[in-house]
Amino acid sequence: MPSDADTDTGAGIGWHQPDRLSQLFSATPLMTAFVDDAMIVRMASRAWCEWFGSSVAEAVGKHYVLTIGERRERHRRHIELAQRGVEISFEDELVDALGGTRWCRVHLSPAVAGANAAAPCGVMIVMLEFTGERVRSELIVRQREQLFEQLRDQQRNEQMQAELEKTRTLLDWRTTMLTERNEMLHLLSHEIRQPLNNASAAMQATMQAIADLHLAESTPASSALARAENVLGQVIGTLDNTLAAGTILAFGEAALELTDTDLPVLIRLVLADIAADARQRIVLELGTDTRTVRLHPTLMRLTLRNLLNNALAYSPGESAIHLQVSESDDPLAIVIDVADNGSGIPDELRPRLFEKGARGANSRMRSGAGLGLFIAHSVTKMHRGSIEALPNSPQGTIVRMTLPQGLAD
């Protein structure tokens, strides 16, 4: 049934004639086409034809597959479904001459003439390009990935920053603690050593006063004083070791300043550090005329005192301790041996002999925190030398310290 418009308006007459419709179709900017039930392209827009690299003149009136060419498989499968009355859509893509990809959504609408929807008279094809949308969404996905990556980096950075902050805080704390400890050590150093020094001075003066009386035998007073002096010596020794260990640990090699030192004088100073009754057990053997040696006199005095006191404590009461100084040409060095006739070093102690807190099980009558050999080891290392414990013959131990000489600073 023609509508009112068809009959009333002369200008509208004939718009649905096939060639008119076909013309209209071809002029539309949409990608669209109509394929009849025999799969012949009846109408097609330029845009649709161009998608397949064809033209309206080539496509219209020919079989559909001739136009769609190589992509026929996907299209035919769908269009066959549409020819059976199914409305369907799918996506198609195209690589253009420049290598860029374009995307299209293909809508297939069965054209129904009459009541039988299951047997359409053709299929209306409309294709909507969504390349822009697709590119945008890919861009968005990429951007999101980049954003996530940046976020992860940032989180990692924040974690590292936090770790760094923690480490820095710990370091600051450690520095503060070290500083405080050193201040404590210096306080101890002065506040305790000074009175100890004075007590020792008073005691020495008293002993001298008693000696000046020229009494025939040693008096109970002088032997008591001698014992008191021994105790004082032990306290001083422990204090010196603790302070030295603290200094060594805090400053390391930076603490070292070697000077030309008169070795025989240093040894006599060390011997004077040893309690008078034990001192006579020490036999000094100077196996060299070399007197001027480069070392750190204060730390070496402490080290030698420790080695001698160790040897005295871990060997039989009356046995001799040999302090031997010799020299070596290759390497150019001074060698100091402290040899005892004790029971030797127990095997279980050997591996950690020079560690802090290592003490012999038979450390009878010994006070101290096991710092002696640790200090000896540290000080020797600071002199770029070596220290070792060798077996003595027939029994006992030789602690051998080798101090290189003639080294550049």
């Binding site: 210096h186 100890l196 020094n197 004088v265 004077a272 750190h296 150019l332 003639g406 550049a408």
Partner: protein
């Protein structure tokens, strides 16, 4: 050998009184100064034969005091201090002290150190007899008449000290003169050469060897030295 006079600079009256008593008992004229400024303000602060100095002092600090003393006197300086710490030791050595004793020390130890330092100074810097270098025979004769044979390197070394005339010779100058510049070989470096030479001298004479190292600067021959 003890000095005739000692300035004892220590602000601890108990200790210094006992120590002075001990040293006076050995025949030394000891002057006590509880404050370093008192010493510096005295009529003749630089005429003592020896100085025993504590580090923590009222007035001028001990290290500074040593630096001042060194500008005016070659007398022995012994530091006896309760201050521990290797950095303190280094300061003291740089300032020019001859020896450092850490408190507590016994009077015997102080006396021993004073004797050793004083003996070294008297037998080197203040000796009337010079050490003699004989270039022709390549020998060094000690003031007590002992003869040490010198290697070619030793002789160049001694000639450096002759030219320096008692001044400190820098390490690089010595190394260059001895042809040891840039020698990485520790067995043949300047320090090893000096150590070996000093060792050879010490074998023949009980005298203190005036060939002394100046911390980080160089070496000095601190005694009269002449060409034979």
């Amino acid at each position: 050998m003890l000095p005739r006079t000692i300035a004892l600079v220590d602000d601890d009256p108990e200790y210094s009184e006992f120590l002075a008593q001990h040293l006076r008992g050995r025949g030394v004229d000891v002057h006590l100064y509880a404050d370093s400024s008192d010493l510096l303000a005295a009529a003749s602060p630089y005429l003592y034969e020896f100085y025993v100095v504590d580090l923590m002092l009222p007035g001028v600090d001990g290290v500074e005091l040593i630096r001042i003393l060194r500008k005016r006197t070659d007398a022995g300086v012994l530091v006896v201090s309760g201050r521990l710490g290797a950095e303190v030791f280094a300061d003291v050595v740089y300032a020019g002290a001859d020896m450092y004793l850490m408190k507590p020390v016994t009077f015997e130890q102080v006396e021993l150190a004073v004797r050793a330092v004083h003996r070294r100074i008297v037998t080197t810097a203040k000796t009337a007899t010079a050490w003699r270098v004989d270039a022709a025979r390549s020998t060094l004769t000690t003031p007590d008449g002992q003869v040490v044979d010198l290697s070619a390197t030793d002789l160049s070394l001694m000639q450096c000290f002759l030219e320096a005339n008692g001044a400190v010779v820098a390490r690089d100058v010595l190394s260059e003169r001895l042809g040891l510049a840039g020698a990485g070989d520790s067995a043949n470096n300047l320090h090893a050469t000096i150590y070996r030479l000093r060792r050879r001298i010490e074998r023949v004479t009980p005298l203190a060897v005036p060939l002394q190292s100046q911390q980080r600067v160089g070496y000095v021959f601190k005694a009269p030295l002449v060409n034979a």
